[in-house]
């Protein structure tokens, strides 16, 4: 087998003559493409760019909405509206509580 020092001393014509000499056997594996695995961090940049794009889009669309204006300027009127809503919610919860109470009484009478 030739040594690197011997190959380094060959002229260009000698190298060309050797490469064209088909009688010299070439290992079969040399024809196969070398597979270099991609670095593991290659996909991180793409995901980071996508996240920045989405955050930017979310910020942009949120800027379009004007600030909400209070319907009432008088806190007593606002309080009255909240009171009405809470009364409504309380009424529904009271209706449910009454049904629960009725059911409890029925169960107690059945179990006696």
């Amino acid at each position: 087998m030739k040594r690197i020092e011997d190959i380094a001393q060959l002229s260009a014509e000698d190298l060309e003559r050797i490469s064209l000499d088909e009688s010299i056997p070439v290992p079969a594996e040399l024809g196969r493409r070398v597979h270099r695995p991609r670095p593991r961090r290659a996909w991180v940049g793409g995901v980071a760019a996508a996240v920045v794009l989405l955050v930017g889009a979310g910020w942009f669309f949120s800027q379009d909405r004007p600030a909400l204006q209070d319907t009432f300027t008088d806190p007593y009127l606002a309080y009255a509206e909240v009171e009405k809503a809470l009364d409504r919610i309380g009424g529904t919860l009271s209706y449910g509580a009454a049904k629960v109470s009725e059911t409890q009484e029925t169960l107690e009478s059945v179990l006696k």
Binding site: W43, G46, V47, A50, V51, L54, A57, G58, F61, R65, L68, Q69, D70, T71, F72, P75, Y76, A78, Y79, E81, V82, E83, A85, L86, D87, R88, I89, G90, G91, T92, L93, S94, Y95, G96, A97, A98, V100, S101, Q104
Partner: protein, 161 residues
Amino acid sequence: MKKLYILATLLLVSVAALAQDGKSLYQKYSDAEGIQAVYISPAMFRLIGRIPDVNFGDQAVNLAPLIKSMTGFYLLSTENPDQGRALAGEVDRFVRSGRYELLMEAKDDGDRTRIYTVGDAETVSSLVLLTYDGSETTFITLDGAMSRSDLDDLFAKAATR
């Protein structure tokens, strides 16, 4: 292909995150014709907090004590059946997303009322009412930091009266 799946997932998550609360629903519908809209800001609630306590209503469940812990109020009301169905559809979407938890539903003579809560085991961050009384659909959201145990106690006291 792997990057495409990740990007598609992030896009879906971001879309799902849009319009997920009472405020965004209010912003979407408040300017629509035929809809009555009321908004009370955190600043107005701070002023309300200075009003002396007044007991109101004769309901078994009195929610007046919760006003002190409220920070926002959104109301949408319409007599248009199509708009009413759209509002109810939006609420159903919030429920399917898991953010709204049904607290109670009451049906009586064609009237239907649902109360939802948003929050965790300790705190209710939103109390939501959706009601239909045969002609009008009303959506109300009350934001704040209401103690869930206080709400449970109010209900339990009324149920054992």
